[in-house]
Symmetry: C2
Subunit: 240 residues, 2 copies
DNA sequence: TTGCTAGTGTGAGGCTTTTCACAGATTCGT
DNA sequence: ACGAATCTGTGAAAAGCCTCACACTAGCAA
């Protein structure tokens, strides 16, 4: 059995709770492992609670009638997802799948609601979480509307650098592996177009391509080309 | 001077507060009127507080470098906007303008934060507000990604019916007046394309066009054509 | 009434993006 | 180590959408 409490403590929302309190929550939670590519919840599933990602990586998607997969977000270890269940939203209309082998913890909605009622800190934390997610998605909407695929892709790369970038000898690399298909699924384009545009950007010297790997050699001029201020880059190591 | 307290009471978030409490809040708020087409806040403005729309209609927009206006949302009387200020987000990156002559009330962020800290109900209300807005925008992102302009427009029409539709003799009319340019600004297209697509839909018998006015004659088959369940339509009158 | 403005209708031409088809390369599972 | 699956690169043809240019109408203001 997984040490659930250890992971609970790593989530912003719970880090300030007492160990006793955490033990109590832990008792109500269940954990499970999901292999890469497998679903965690489907739109049809009833939303019984909130999920916490202990390890791995999760993507939140929706699928069009023609079978195209739109990627709405990636979730990193320590982050909550499926959190609309907190609002007694029983039905979700997106689904979550493991982008890598993952361990997840299911926290019953009632548990969070109880915490929110008792501890204003938690309540505020949830509000902030919602606000943050909303800002992210609003920002994405803005850079998708009216923009060419080239611009969309550049904006996405900059966002990825902000979230996953780390410095290497010859530029900035990403701590996340994405195929061209994945990138297309985020910006609402096709795999082929992404391949071509990335090829162009490489030819123009903005980046270097590897298999599921992109190294940005000139983030700031790339940012300037879409009139956006260059992102801050986390100074250090590749991480786990 | 406007009867601010009257309007505060009409906002979901405040409706359960005592009159005394409301008086106290009222004392900290300021009200102003804005004529159609004028800005309410700009991206550069510091976000001093949250805004409550007392009357009129507001649109939340962002502008691309090439001067295209993306409409992110409409705000109706009784709704809050600019609410990210609650999270001490000092800088906004969208702007708000009056879509019709409007009266707005500015509530200092500190006031809301105090309420949230003292009253769990308010705190939950804010969380719900954030969650709701996020669901809306996520839904929009989903119907924009990978979709043709025709599909985007149909989805938008269905959303508008849900929010603004009322039954009339020959179908469903909308309680909001939008030009083709407005519609284009919502779905990220151009005025001409919207005109053409609406013309097609009219020819196919789905709707009838008037000046800044659309009457849907067959909402359910329109919904079926994009594989969406038909929206509920508010049963009655045109409203104010 | 007479402008004037905002909103709508239409078409030609060109650019962007998708679609389809296939080939080579790398990684993964067993 | 081997075959299978995944990932990337490329090109031709077609579809979709945007740009630009202009005409017409309804509503508003003086």
């Amino acid at each position: 059995m997984v040490e659930k409490i250890w992971y609970l403590k790593r989530c912003d929302l719970f880090e300030r709770l007492s160990t006793d309190r955490l033990r109590a929550i832990e008792a109500r939670c269940s954990a499970r492992k999901v292999a890469r590519g497998n679903p965690i919840y489907l739109p049809a599933d009833e939303a019984r609670g909130v999920l916490l990602l202990a390890s791995g990586r999760v993507k939140i998607c929706s699928v069009t009638a023609e079978g195209r997969q739109a990627i709405l977000a990636f979730i990193e270890p320590g982050e909550l997802f499926g959190e609309l269940a907190i609002l007694d939203q029983l039905q979700r209309d997106e689904y979550a799948e493991a982008a890598e082998a993952s361990q997840i913890i299911l926290i019953p909605a009632a548990e969070i609601q109880k915490l929110m009622a008792e501890l204003p800190d938690v309540s505020l934390g949830v509000t902030k979480l919602f606000g943050l997610r909303r800002m992210r998605i609003e920002r994405r909407l803005k850079y998708l509307l009216f923009r060419s695929n080239r611009e969309r892709l550049i904006h996405l790369l900059i966002e990825l650098v902000e979230q996953y970038g780390y410095l290497v000898a010859d530029g900035v690399a990403l701590r996340i592996k994405l195929s061209h298909q994945d990138l297309a699924n985020i910006i609402g384009s096709t795999r082929e177009t992404v391949t071509v545009v990335l090829g162009d950007l490489q030819a123009e010297g903005f980046l270097r391509l590897g298999r599921r790997k992109i190294t940005l050699s000139n983030v700031s001029s790339l940012a300037k080309s879409v009139q956006v201020k260059p992102p801050r880059i986390e100074g250090v190591t590749p991480g786990a």
